[in-house]
C-alpha cells in the first residue's frame, strides 16, 4: 500500500517539477508589447476585446434606432441593418465574450490561481494574442471594403450567405469574415493548449484538482470544449470559403438567382448548419462555464461563506460541458432535418437543466445565511443569478420542439439568448472586473460610479429584453429591417420598440461611465492593498500587487486547503488563505 496523503494535515508532496526559468524581457517592447507574461497578454486580450466590443455596442444602438424609429435614420438602409446584425452577433459571441473570458480572465487567473509562474508555453501564448489581434483587424476591415461587411446573420447560413443578394455576399465582406474566423481559431488553439496544459500539469504543490477555485474549473472545462468545438467551425469556414472562391458546392444546392442558374449544385445547406451548431452550441457554454465559475467565487468571497456543494459544482460544470456536445440540433428544429432528431435533441437539451439547476440552487444556498456584503462584484453576481434563471426558463420553451416551432425566429428567441448568454455572462464580466481590478492595477474602482453602472445596466437590461418576450409572443419576427403596419406590429408593439430603444441607449451610456471609471480609477482610485476583499485564493496572496513578472518572487506558494475557507469557526480571521498551513500544524513545526 502506498501512502497517499488523505487529509490536509498530511504533508504536502514534494515538488515534482523544478521551478521554471522564465524569459526575462530586455526592452520596453518585450515587456509591454511583445510580452510573454500571461498577465500582460491577458490585459492585451481584454483591451482588444473591449475595443471591438464597443463597435458591437454602437452597432446595437444603430439597430435599435432603426427598430424604434423606422425610416427616420436614412443612412440605415436594409443592407446596413443586416450588416449591423451580423457583425454585432459575431463580435459579441466570439471576439468579445470568448476572447475576454478565456484569453483575458483565463490568462490572468490560471497561473495566479494555480500558483504557477506563468503559462507553460509563454511564447505560444504571445502568438495566440497576436493572431487574435490580426483576426480582429481582418474582421474590422470588413467595414472598409467595397460592399461592406457580410450581412448574412451571425450564423452565416448558406446558401444566402454567399449569394449576391446578401450584403457582402459576393464581395470581400464574407471572405474577410471567414478568414478572420479561421485566424481566430488558430490563435485560440495556441492559447487554449496553454490553458489546458497549465491546469493539468502546472499546478503548485498541494493544489489538487479538487482544491482549484471554481473559476479555474469553469475556464478549464470551457477551454477543453473550445478545443473540440472550434474545429467544426474551422471546417465549416474553410468549406464555405471554397464554395465562394473556388466554386465548389459543399453547401450550395442547385439554385436560381435573379433568373440565372448558378454553377452550384448538389451541396447540402443543412450540413453547414450541423457543423455550425456542433460548434455553436458548445460555444454557448464556452461562454457560460467561465461565468459560472467566476460567479461562484464572487458569491463565496462576498458572502463570506464556503461555496455550497463544491464537488457537485465541479461535476455540474463537467457534465454540462459534456452534454453540450449532444444538443446542437435544437437550433435546427425548423431547418428541415429529420423530425425524429428533434425528439432526441429535445430530450438531451432538457437534461442539461438538471446540472444547471444544481448550480443555481448551490449559488442560492451559498448566499443563504451568509454574511452578504453588497459590494459591486456581489451586486453583479446577484444580477447574474436572476438574469440567468430568467433566460434559462425561456430556454425550456425553446428546447421543446412543439413550443419552439411557433416561437422560432421571433423576438422571443432574441430575448432568450440575450438574457442567458448575453446579459448574464456580461454581468459576470463586470463583476469580475470590479473584483480583480484591484489586483491588476493596485487600485479600487470607484464605488459610486460602480453602483450607478450596476443599477442602470441591470434594470436597463431587463427593460430592454423583457418586452421582447412579449413582442415575440405577438409574432414579431427577428432580423426584420422594418415591420410596417402588420398584425404582428400593432401600435402598442411599436411603442414598446421605442421604449426598448431608449433603454438601450441609456444602458449604453452607462457603459461609457464604466469605461471612464476604468481609466479614472487607474490614477485616482483608492489604494487597494494586496487583498482588499479578504479572499482566500492564491492570486490575492502574491508578494506584491500588481503581481510581478513570475508572480511569486523567490518561493512558489504551497497549497494546504481548498479555496473556500470563509468564516471557519475558531479561525482568527473570517478567511484562511489557501497557502496558509493549519494553525496546529504551524505550532507543531515551531515546536520541532
Amino acid at each position: 500500500m502506498v501512502n497517499i496523503p488523505s487529509s490536509i494535515d498530511d504533508t504536502v508532496p514534494a515538488a515534482e517539477v523544478e521551478d521554471v526559468e522564465l524569459y526575462h524581457p530586455h526592452s520596453w517592447w518585450t515587456t509591454y508589447v511583445f510580452s510573454q507574461d500571461a498577465k500582460v497578454i491577458a490585459i492585451q486580450y481584454s483591451l482588444t476585446a473591449i475595443s471591438i466590443g464597443l463597435v458591437a455596442l454602437v452597432l446595437s444602438w444603430l439597430m435599435r434606432l432603426q427598430l424604434g424609429f423606422p425610416g427616420y435614420f436614412t443612412f440605415i438602409d436594409a443592407d446596413r441593418y443586416y450588416q449591423f446584425i451580423t457583425m454585432h452577433g459575431m463580435i459579441m459571441v466570439i471576439y468579445l465574450l470568448t476572447a475576454l473570458f478565456l484569453g483575458g480572465f483565463g490568462n490572468y487567473l490560471i497561473p495566479l490561481m494555480l500558483g504557477a509562474r506563468d503559462m507553460v508555453f509563454p511564447y505560444a501564448n504571445m502568438l495566440s494574442y497576436w493572431l487574435y489581434l490580426l483576426a480582429v483587424l481582418v474582421l474590422a476591415a470588413g467595414f472598409f471594403v467595397p460592399g461592406g461587411p457580410t450581412g448574412a446573420g451571425w450564423t452565416l447560413y448558406p446558401p444566402q450567405a454567399i449569394l449576391s443578394g446578401t450584403p457582402g455576399g459576393q464581395s470581400g465582406g464574407i471572405i474577410l469574415m471567414l478568414v478572420s474566423l479561421i485566424l481566430f481559431i488558430i490563435g485560440f488553439t495556441m492559447g487554449g493548449l496553454n490553458y489546458v496544459v497549465t491546469v493539468l500539469q502546472g499546478r503548485a504543490r498541494g493544489m489538487t484538482l479538487m482544491r482549484m477555485p471554481l473559476t479555474i474549473w469553469g475556464i478549464f472545462t470551457a477551454t477543453v470544449m473550445a478545443l473540440l468545438a472550434f474545429p467544426a467551425l474551422f471546417v465549416a469556414s474553410v468549406m464555405m470559403l471554397f464554395d465562394l472562391v473556388l466554386g465548389t458546392s459543399f453547401f450550395m444546392p442547385a439554385i436560381v438567382e435573379m433568373g440565372t442558374q448558378l454553377q452550384h449544385g448538389g451541396g447540402s445547406p443543412i450540413l453547414f448548419q450541423h457543423l455550425f451548431w456542433f460548434f455553436g452550441h458548445p460555444e454557448v457554454y464556452i461562454v457560460a462555464l467561465p461565468a459560472f465559475g467566476i460567479v461562484s467565487d464572487l458569491i463565496s468571497t462576498h458572502a463570506r461563506k464556503n461555496i455550497f456543494g463544491y464537488r457537485m459544482m465541479v461535476w455540474a460544470i463537467v457534465i454540462i460541458g459534456a452534454l453540450s456536445f449532444i444538443v446542437w440540433a435544437h437550433h435546427m428544429y425548423v431547418s428541415g432535418m429529420n423530425p425524429n432528431f428533434g425528439f432526441f435533441f429535445a430530450t438531451t437539451t432538457l437534461i442539461i437543466a438538471v446540472p444547471t439547476a444544481i448550480k443555481v440552487y448551490n449559488w442560492v444556498l451559498t448566499l443563504w445565511r451568509g454574511d452578504i456584503h453588497l459590494t459591486i462584484p456581489m451586486l453583479f453576481a446577484l444580477g447574474f443569478i436572476v438574469t440567468f434563471v430568467n433566460g434559462g426558463l425561456t430556454g425550456l420553451f425553446l428546447g421543446n420542439v412543439v413550443v419552439d416551432v411557433p416561437l422560432s425566429d421571433t423576438m422571443f428567441v432574441v430575448a432568450h439568448f440575450h438574457m442567458v448568454m448575453g446579459v448574464a455572462p456580461i454581468m459576470v464580466i463586470f463583476g469580475a472586473i470590479y473584483h480583480w481590478y484591484p489586483k491588476i492595477t493596485g487600485r479600487m474602482l470607484d464605488e459610486i460610479m460602480g453602483r450607478i453602472h450596476f443599477w442602470v445596466t441591470f434594470l436597463g437590461a431587463y427593460l430592454i429584453f423583457f418586452p421582447m418576450h412579449y413582442l415575440g409572443l405577438l409574432g414579431a419576427p427577428r432580423r426584420y429591417y422594418e415591420l410596417g403596419e402588420s398584425a404582428v406590429n400593432p401600435p402598442s408593439a411599436h411603442d414598446l420598440n421605442v421604449f426598448i430603444t431608449l433603454m438601450a441607449l441609456t444602458v449604453g451610456a452607462a457603459q461609457m461611465l464604466f469605461l471612464f471609471n476604468l481609466v479614472w480609477s487607474l490614477r485616482h482610485g483608492k489604494e487597494a492593498g494586496g487583498n482588499p476583499w479578504r479572499a482566500t485564493t492564491l492570486e490575492w496572496q502574491t508578494p506584491t500587487t500588481p503581481p510581478p513578472h513570475g508572480n511569486w518572487g523567490k518561493e512558489l506558494p504551497v497549497v494546504y486547503r481548498w479555496a473556500y475557507d470563509y468564516s471557519v469557526p475558531g479561525a482568527p480571521q473570517d478567511f484562511i488563505p489557501q497557502n496558509q498551513p493549519n494553525p496546529d500544524r504551524l505550532s507543531m513545526e515551531n515546536a520541532s
Partner: protein, 242 residues
Amino acid sequence: MHESAKTKPSATPALPRPSGLSGFAADWASDQRTFKNVSWGKAMMWIFLLSDTFIFGCFLLAYMTARMSTTVPWPNPSEVFALNIGGQEVPLILIAIMTFVLISSSGTMAMAVNFGYRRDRRKTAALMLLTALFGATFVGMQAFEWTKLISEGVRPWENPWGAAQFGSTFFMITGFHGTHVTFGVIFLIIIARKVWRGDFDQERRGFFTSRKGNYEIVEITGLYWHFVDLVWVFIFAFFYLW
C-alpha cells in the same frame, strides 16, 4: 530558478504509485501534475492532436455526407485512381505506393526516437532526415496525382465522371492532409538540424522561445508524424477504398 530540466520524463524520479484503477484515481486526485511523468510539451502535443482529430473528423464526415446525399453517381475510385502501366490499368497503384512510403516513414521515425533517447546524435538526425525524405516523397507523389487528375479534367467544381463533390472533397481533404505532411517535413528538418548540431547536448537555447531543448522534442515530433500517418490510413480507407 533553474531551467525546466525536470519537465522531461527522464529526470523525474519515479513516484511510488498504486497500479491500475486506484493509480488512475490517485493521479487525478494528486497535486501539481495529473499525468505523472508526462512533460508539458508532450501533454500539449497530445491535446493538440485530439483537437486536430476533430478537424479531420469533421472533414471526413462532411465528405461522407456529401457522398451519401448526392443525386449524381459518385466516380469509381478504382478507375479514377488507376495508372496505365505497360498497357494495363492498375487500380490504386500510386496510392498503394504512397501509403507504403508514409507508413515506412513512421518506422524510421520510431527508430529516430529510440536513438534520440540513447543520445545518438548522428543516427537520430539521419533517421529524421530519412523520415523527412519519405514525407517529401509522399507529397511529391501527391503532387503527381493532383497533376494527373487535373489534366484529366478534375476540378474542385466539376469532373468528367459524376458528382462535383468528388473533386471538391478530394482536393480539400488530401490537400489539408498534404499540408500537415509538409509542415511535418519542415519540423523534421529543423529538429534534425538541431540534433545534428548538438543543441540538446549543449542545452542551447531556442531562437524564439529562449528555452533549452532536449531530446524529447524528437519524440514529440514523432507523435505528430505518427498522427499524420494514422489520419492517412483513414483517408485511404474512406476515400479510396470505399
